[in-house]
């Protein structure tokens, strides 16, 4: 078993290495035809002219190509901006599209080989490693050693992993052209699924889905005595693979709008953006269904399901962010901050983001129905601010990049506006609670330590008080690490759900309100 474990780890690291090196293996040669092909019609003439000096030149690296591109393109844009000729400024970033079109390299000539040697090896190695290392471990030992691990306790490996993830997200969001060689190798898959070209988002979606699947296998093995964890993991793998990854691509293949049926506003913050609404309305019956479905989820789905099952129905069974957190992020759950201070920050931040999303969406809709007479282009700037600060920086870079630093639910806890909405329902109108088993708590603190949302579960349990907290995503790990059978996630009558004055069972001398 140790041998297989070693081989798995080796293959995994080798795959990561290839994945990391591939973006550096490529050269670029741009032609006018490519520019015409990749660029919107209104920009074609100008860009074809601006990029003239690049045609026929060979650039040995992405960086060299992008430098040349910027040197010729940026001055034009800067000059327009200086003149405040806003309507002529080219806001589109063609860097990625042109790099992808102009590139040559192993990933383009042999996409399948490169895919197998990078992502393929990572998946194979990962699966081998998980099977081999789960061998004789008992579930009760599932969490031992996490604080003795360099990776899982902010040691050197943890810092390295965090840096790598943060770097990946920064490049993905703001310098995607550097990833174009990686996008080449997934091009055949994209063509097969959607009939169209692959973008950096297709690459990301594929990697994301595979990460959830491979680390989901780890969860199922780790919790092989725990049906709740297994079902929940199967559920997030299913929703990510089918709803977030495959169905939207197939919709594109069928010439329908790209749509993730399980994504809900305000997490899906651009649902009410003007171009989205236009897409829905112009796409016939299915488009209209998407619009109505999305609205029904917001006004009926969220309150109803949350009333019956708590916010867990979404956060740890359906959601893609939650899916990644619960699989890839599982090994980092204990790094969440449990202090009272963190809870205070959390409440301000998450409800602040919710307020921002609601205001932004409200303005967008008002603006839309007043045919942009009211606010003009202001909503666009609001959108790009939100997209940058919340959608990319917070949800992506911090949300995932900070797994090894602040735990796996930083985004869900401090930033996700949908989690805030679900949480308000869960706190004030729901049948869900974590029941404390009478007086059995021994205050050991395993529950609090391993709560990814930073809830001080013990503070409730040791008083014999049920846990009703807006942030609880119902992952069920507190119940599973509890050595004395004290905690149980339950849906039940609202009456008696919250113990304002809990009484610990077992002492007949007094009925103490602690």
């Amino acid at each position: 078993m140790r041998g297989i474990q070693g081989i798995g780890l080796f293959l995994f690291l080798l795959g990561m290495l290839v994945f990391t090196i591939l973006p550096f293996l490529g050269s670029y040669r741009l032609s006018e035809a490519m520019v015409k092909n990749q660029v919107k019609e209104i920009h074609q003439e100008k860009l074809a002219e601006l990029l003239q000096p690049l045609y026929g030149q060979n650039y040995p690296s992405t960086h060299a190509f992008l430098t040349a591109y910027s040197a010729n393109f940026d001055p034009y844009n800067e000059e327009l901006k200086a003149r405040e000729a806003w309507d002529q400024v080219i806001w589109d970033d063609y860097g990625f599209a042109l790099a992808k079109a102009a590139g040559e390299g192993p990933a383009r000539s042999n996409p399948w080989t490169c895919l197998m040697l990078s992502i393929g090896l990572v998946v194979l190695g990962g699966v081998l490693f998980q099977f081999a290392s789960s061998g004789s471990k008992h579930t009760s030992l599932a969490h031992t050693g996490v604080f003795h691990s360099s990776l899982k306790n902010r040691g050197f490996l943890g810092m390295l992993t965090g840096t790598y993830l943060i770097g990946f997200y920064v490049i993905l969001y703001w310098f995607p052209a550097y990833l174009s060689p990686l996008v080449w190798m997934v091009e055949p898959i994209a063509q097969f699924l959607s009939g169209g070209p692959a973008s950096q988002w297709f690459l990301y979606g594929l990697v994301y889905t595979l990460a959830i699947a491979v680390m989901g296998i780890r969860m199922v093995l780790k919790y092989r005595d725990n049906k709740y964890q297994q079902l929940r993991t199967a559920s997030v793998i299913f929703f990510q693979t089918a709803f977030a990854f495959l169905i939207p691509e197939v919709l594109v293949l069928l010439n329908k709008p790209y749509f993730d049926f399980k994504n809900i506003w305000p997490l899906d913050y651009d649902f009410f953006y003007d171009y989205q609404i236009d897409t829905f309305i112009s796409s016939g019956g299915l488009g209209l269904f998407m619009l109505i479905w999305g609205i029904l989820l917001i006004v009926l789905g969220v309150p109803l399901f949350t009333y019956f099952y708590g916010k867990r129905w979404y956060c740890s069974w359906v959601c893609g962010c939650g899916g990644l957190a619960e699989t890839v992020g599982d090994g980092f759950r204990h790094l969440s901050d449990k202090s009272l201070k963190a809870w205070q920050w959390e409440r301000w931040m998450i409800h602040g983001v919710l307020a921002l999303a609601v205001i932004m969406t409200g303005l967008t809709i008002v603006n839309y129905f007043s045919s942009f007479s009211l606010l003009g282009q202001v909503t666009n700037q609001l959108h790009s601010f939100y997209g940058f600060a919340i959608g990319s920086a917070f949800a992506g870079v911090v949300g995932t990049g900070f797994y090894p630093l602040m735990g796996n639910r930083v985004w869900c806890r401090f930033g996700c506006p949908l989690a805030a909405y679900l949480g308000l329902v869960q706190r004030f109108k729901s049948r869900f609670r974590i029941t404390t088993n009478g007086g059995q708590c021994i205050s050991c603190g395993n529950c609090s330590t391993h709560c990814e949302m930073g809830i001080d579960v013990r503070a409730y349990a040791q008083q014999g008080q049920n846990i009703v907290r807006s942030s609880c995503v119902g992952c069920g790990v507190c119940a599973s690490v509890c050595p004395r059978g004290v905690l149980k996630l339950e849906n039940g009558p609202e009456e008696g759900r919250i113990h304002e004055f809990p009484i610990l069972i077992g002492n007949d001398s007094i009925k103490l309100r602690s």
């Binding site: 030992l141 603190g445 996630l489």
Partner: protein, 449 residues
């Protein structure tokens, strides 16, 4: 009541529960807690998890440091050397002193050593204090093939699990002929023994420690057992029970037996001096079936609650309710509610069910009229509230069985063991029980009982 100065010696669960509840009921009292072990209250039950890298030390502390300031509970880290009861003065081993108006002794207990030759060697220790944990970490971080654990109780099995985490082979000496014989009936003992052996523990039943051998530097190198066998080892964990930690109170005017003698209101032989938790010894058992020394977490907490109540209200006698307890043996959880006897008792009837995989069991003790006295469950969880009520109201075994689905506490989607238990009860004891229905999910996913 004015602003009396309450001084509590010991910051374990008893002392801290007392301090917290006193503050809730009395805003004026001056409260000081003294401990030489650690500056802040920590959960002793979590020592093993720190050792196994499942928690960090700070996680064992249920309250943040700011809590004590906010609640005006002064903490002093020092060891008390002597107490002058006549003038109500404590003397610390630094020589400093502290006056009190009311003294609460909550000094807990300490591992019992039975005078084995070599018991003071380096590498021989119990596991009770923060210092014990640190010493054990230091010693077992050195390369070591084997360790010996002595004593088949709850701390013994924790020590075995801890050492296993460090990949140190363990020989586990248990004096009794079966594991935890004073508490577990035979079937449960053997279930747990099987589980212990599955974890590659060399479990020796009916075997005692005779002597501990050392090298020239005074490090333990082997033990000799009652069977005369010599077992080489680098560490010896002693877990042969605990005794009240009251040595520094001996030879004073305070009446001491095994622990500090107290009445049902925790009053010692000296006015304004009280004792709670492990160090208190009741003159009379506090309830039927209870012992004069109550040395578990839960009773310590109840002592603290009750004494604090007594300073804020008309004092009452300590009267514990239905007994309950819990533990964990490697992966197998143990719970009990009410009384289950370890040996068969004439006139009482036991219903016992064991799952075919041999890791889950349920026992219910019934009196002559078939009414429930208690339950003992391994490998699955039962609801405290349900069984507290059933035992208090003396439900018939049949009634308990009929409602058993309400008494289950396992996580959702777990195997519905109550179905198997109900069927077995019907077969063994009889009665008109309609088994619970399978839930929607249990039908879909094929529940295994």
């Amino acid at each position: 009541m004015g602003s009396r100065h309450f001084v509590i010696i010991g910051n374990g669960i008893s002392g801290i529960t007392f301090a917290r509840n006193l503050r809730k009921g009395d805003d004026k009292a001056r409260i000081t807690v003294i401990s030489g072990e650690s500056p802040y209250f920590f959960s002793r039950t979590a020592l093993m998890y720190v050792y196994m890298g499942q928690m960090k030390w700070e996680h064992t502390q249920p309250y943040e440091p700011v809590f004590w300031k906010k609640n005006r509970i002064d903490l002093i880290k020092a060891w008390v050397k002597t107490i002058t009861f006549e003038s109500k003065i404590l003397v610390f081993d630094s020589g400093e002193t502290l006056n009190y108006d009311v003294l609460v002794l909550a000094t807990g207990s300490k591992p019992a050593f039975f005078g084995w030759p070599g018991q003071d060697l380096k590498g021989v220790q119990g596991l009770y204090t923060k210092q014990d944990l640190e010493a054990m970490e230091a010693i077992t971080n050195r390369p070591m093939e084997r360790a010996v654990v002595v004593g088949g109780g709850l701390i013994g099995i924790e020590l075995a699990e801890m050492l296993t985490y460090k990949k140190i082979a363990v020989t586990f000496l248990v004096r009794e002929n079966r594991f935890w014989e004073q508490v577990l009936p035979e079937a449960e003992s053997s279930l747990v023994q099987k589980h212990i052996r599955e974890h590659e523990i060399d479990l020796r039943l009916g075997t005692e420690l005779k002597e501990i051998l050392s090298d020239a530097q005074g490090n333990v190198i082997a033990v000799i057992t009652s069977t005369g066998e010599e077992i080489p080892c680098g560490f010896v964990g002693i877990a042969t029970g605990v005794i009240p930690n009251v040595d520094f109170l001996k030879n004073t005017s305070l009446m001491i037996g095994k622990g500090v003698k107290v009445n049902s209101k925790f009053e010692s032989s000296i006015p304004d001096v009280y004792a709670i938790g492990d160090c208190a010894e009741f003159e009379q058992p506090p309830g039927p079936g209870r012992r004069n020394l109550e040395q578990v977490w839960y009773t310590g907490r109840m002592h603290g609650e009750t004494l604090a109540y007594n300073f804020c209200h008309e004092p009452v006698a300590y009267r514990p309710g239905i007994w309950f307890n819990s533990a964990k043996f490697f992966a197998i959880e143990y719970q009990t509610y009410g009384w289950v006897q370890p040996e068969p008792v004439d006139g009482l009837q036991d219903f016992y069910w064991e799952h075919q995989d041999g890791k889950v069991s349920f026992r219910m003790s019934l009196d002559q009229e078939g009414k429930i006295l208690g339950v003992l469950n391994l490998g699955f969880r039962l609801r405290h509230e349900f069984f507290d009520k059933a035992i208090r109201e003396k439900w018939s075994g049949e009634k308990v069985m009929q409602a058993l689905d309400k008494g289950m506490f396992d996580p959702e989607f777990y195997a519905p063991y109550h179905l198997g238990i109900q069927a077995a009860f019907k077969q063994q004891i009889g009665g008109d029980i309609i088994p619970s229905k399978k839930s929607f999910f249990q039908k879909i996913f094929g529940a295994s009982q």
